[in-house]
Symmetry: D2
Subunit: 152 residues, 4 copies
């Protein structure tokens, strides 16, 4: 089983949303389970892509119920842990893709690198040793798949 995390902000522009959607679709087509924080923006884009490709989408939600889950989450995990749930997104993923993102995403990247998880970066926080930066959703997927089949 391959669990692939997608990290990114709960708000994003249309272009970033489309990139997230392509990444989500590719993960599902490769047989991976998508893991994310379950909210809007990049998380919703990735879930929509995976959902439309017939995949499973795990949303590890910060709030006390499913109210804020995006409509493409098939497996909602309700934590009521607030930002502490970010650690669960990371720990539950074999590999992670960071797409754009703000401080919440940076906290997830930090934990992922601390735990030694591979992190692919797409238009995200720059100049971080340990992130494998790519320029397109297609390259992000290529890198995820290469790493997943090598290491998991």
């Amino acid at each position: 089983m391959k669990m692939v995390g997608v990290m990114g902000a709960g708000d994003c522009n249309g272009e970033i949303y489309e990139q997230a959607r392509k990444v989500g679709a590719g993960i599902a087509k490769a047989g991976g389970i998508l893991v994310c924080g379950g909210l809007g923006g990049v998380m919703e884009g990735a879930c929509q892509g995976a959902y439309e490709a017939g995949g499973q989408t795990v949303g590890i939600l910060p709030g006390p119920d499913r109210t804020h889950a995006n409509p493409y989450v098939t497996i909602p995990i309700v934590t009521d842990l607030g930002h502490a749930r970010n650690v669960l997104v990371v720990r539950s993923s074999d590999i992670l893709v960071a797409i754009a993102g703000g401080y919440g995403t940076l906290s997830e990247i930090s934990i992922a690198l601390k735990l030694g998880r591979p992190v692919i970066g797409l238009h995200t926080w720059p100049n971080m040793e340990g992130i494998q930066y790519v320029e397109t959703a297609e390259k992000a997927l290529d890198t995820v798949l290469a790493l997943v089949y090598e290491t998991i």
Copy 2:
């Protein structure tokens, strides 16, 4: 989507394991997603039943990795939260079945009742107002399904 939690100890005898397996199988056949703590004993029995019936099984694990997940968990959620993960099992479930169990199970029952979740009890902590006690796995399933179709 119906998320049905099964709570019970990580060790149990063969008879209790079979009851858990029947409950898990019934949940999966009814189209529900099984949620549990992902370890052995009652959790494994429920997962095995659901898995063999073709269902999804969410294991919300207490440890830092998947090492202790039982082999029938299809969606492992790695929390590294120890016993605090019990709250996530409850919050992620629409309804819960308690099967036998010790103090860990009692902590989950308590949180479930505090949050107003329906709790079905099968050979578990006795005399608790709020638990709907049943005597067999079949009756537990009947009650779950009746409540799920009424309330969710």
Copy 3:
């Protein structure tokens, strides 16, 4: 250092409040640090007693800020973990006193007994093996002190 937990509901009547206050005062006078969930009711009674006796009171709060801390908490710990913070109250205490209480308190008692912490019970959930039941705040304190000096 002795950390003594007090568990109980966020609402209580005046008589229970006074018992909690006596327990809190006794803990402080014995040099212990009071640990609790930081809210009202039994938690506030215990904090008031300890505070007025010059002691330190740790309130491990469920919400995202200090808004709901009772006024006698000297060390507020802000968790934003909801009910999952109950486990932290237990783990941070060497010994615990349960005073009255509902399902939240029962979840804390369960975790405490699971972790092998001594639990003194005062007008709380009955008939639980592992709880040392007492009838008065004075007896609760005697038992706490006897156990603390024996075992810690």
Copy 4:
């Protein structure tokens, strides 16, 4: 009450340790309560400084017991939450000082900036908008005190 967080790695060289010690001492002398992750390195330096100045030191520990608390923690909070406890260090602090540090510290800085907490940076992650960078422990303290008396 002023709760001042110190964030930094569990290992550090002697020079960084001394800076942390000066910061901790200054916090205690100003009447603040020190909050940190309770382990070694920068956390221990800050606790030692505050402890020797007669202050209270809160250590919010990641493990299941107090075993790894540094000897200068006066209020150990045992979480068993692993890295998720980082969020509690941030939420429990009115203001935070980041001293050197690796990815764990970066995750704390990220959460602090996300939550709008003031962050003073001393030889830590560079070029982050939102951090107020200083060059010495003395300057860090000046900045903390100026902000605390302005805003809290």
